[in-house]
């Protein structure tokens, strides 16, 4: 199945685009999508564990199932200043 992934903040910076389409097995969870993204884009490895995921504009857990045509948003934390 295909899902569309919307990228925010650092994700957009790292991948250089606002969205990507990802092909997944017919049965796949949010976690499987994240793993697939890290395999394709290793620079995301450090970001993914602390990222909030929304599916179809709604907060989603890592084990939630994805469905064909789902719109997924990857939302990294943003601190607003210096550390």
């Amino acid at each position: 199945m295909k899902v569309r992934v919307h990228l925010f903040a650092l994700y957009r910076e790292r991948l250089g685009c606002g969205q990507v389409e990802v092909e997944l097995p017919a049965v796949a969870s949010v976690e499987a999508l994240l793993q697939s993204l890290v395999e394709t884009y290793p620079s995301l490895a450090r970001l993914v564990p602390n990222t909030m995921v929304a599916v179809n504009q709604e907060y989603a857990g890592r084990s939630d199932a994805l469905h064909e045509g789902d719109e997924v948003a990857l939302i990294p934390p943003v601190s607003g200043g210096r550390l």
């Binding site: 450090r46 970001l47 602390n50 607003g80």
Partner: protein
């Protein structure tokens, strides 16, 4: 703290309107508010009796403070330990050229009084810490978060939940902004981001940059939400996260929910008091 386990659920800020009457010049000053049925004279008096704490007199705290002051919010607290730096002036509208080197709370107080001398400004020239946060935050009805680092973000989240204070949260980086409202018991920052990113994984504004005008956009959204909560009008950003992509000028909202497993506001909480947030965020070794 009324009840560490279950803070009072507040759908709006409870501001008691005393028999305060508006002076003629206040009727004129706030006439564009008072004419709206959603505000009116009673709403304006609510604003004038409200006490709002702004954490950080920086990029987000500046526009929030200015609009809350202009709106006539009676008491504005500012907590910030920093001094004005030339690099702040690209976005922090509370501070001016002559303020470089001044404590930010002093500069902020002067600016607010220039905008509206009616506002009582309480300055807290200190870093907000686990030791002083309860004492400071408990003086206010509502908190606007303009914190610029993750330890402070988690600290502000936790203290607001534990004290039952509504929190208007905002954050920015590069061309991206996020804003939401956390009402105690309806989800919190830890529900969205249970664990902080490891140090260095998310660059800061100093490292990556931020568009100055974006801070005005997000800070103004925070001020709007704070005013709505005080007035008890409209639909707040509670249970929604607003995502601002200024580069493409797209606004999206994502529906949020309280995480029953949240260590702070979940069904079996493990965080029942303030902790060491620097250690939590991996910025110093956890004490044994």
């Amino acid at each position: 703290m009324s009840n560490a386990r279950g803070p009072a659920l507040s759908r709006e800020v409870k501001v008691v309107v005393q028999t305060l009457t508006l002076r003629p010049e206040q009727v004129k000053r706030y006439s564009r508010h008072i004419i709206m049925p959603q505000v009116g004279s009673k709403g304006q008096r609510k604003l004038m009796e409200a006490k709002v704490l702004i954490v950080g007199a920086g990029g987000l705290g500046s526009p929030s403070a200015v609009y809350l002051a202009l709106a006539g919010v009676g008491t504005i607290g500012i907590v910030d330990f920093d001094r004005v730096d030339l690099s702040n002036l690209q976005r922090q509208i509370l501070h001016h050229n002559d303020d470089v080197g001044q404590p930010k709370v002093v500069s902020a107080q002067e600016a607010i009084h220039q905008y509206n001398p009616d506002v009582q400004v309480r300055t807290h020239e200190t870093r907000l810490t686990s030791e002083n946060a309860i004492e400071i935050v408990s003086q206010y009805d509502l908190v606007v978060n303009g914190a610029d680092n993750f330890p402070a973000r988690y600290l502000v989240n936790d203290v607001c939940y534990l004290l039952g204070k509504p929190l208007v949260d905002g954050s920015i980086l590069l061309f991206d902004g996020q804003a939401t409202v956390f009402l105690p018991g309806k989800g919190c920052y830890r529900c969205l981001f249970p664990t902080p990113p490891p140090p260095g994984a998310v660059p800061s504004c100093a490292e990556a940059g931020v568009l100055g005008a974006l801070t005005g956009l997000v800070g103004s959204i925070q001020a709007t939400e704070a005013l709505k909560l005080i007035l008890g009008i409209g639909q707040s950003l509670a249970s929604r996260l607003l995502l601002v992509d200024a580069l493409n000028m797209e606004f999206r909202t994502v529906r949020l929910r309280r995480n029953p497993k949240c260590p702070l506001c979940g069904d079996t909480p493990t965080v029942k008091e303030l902790i060491d947030y620097e250690a939590f965020c991996g910025l110093k070794p956890v004490e044994a």
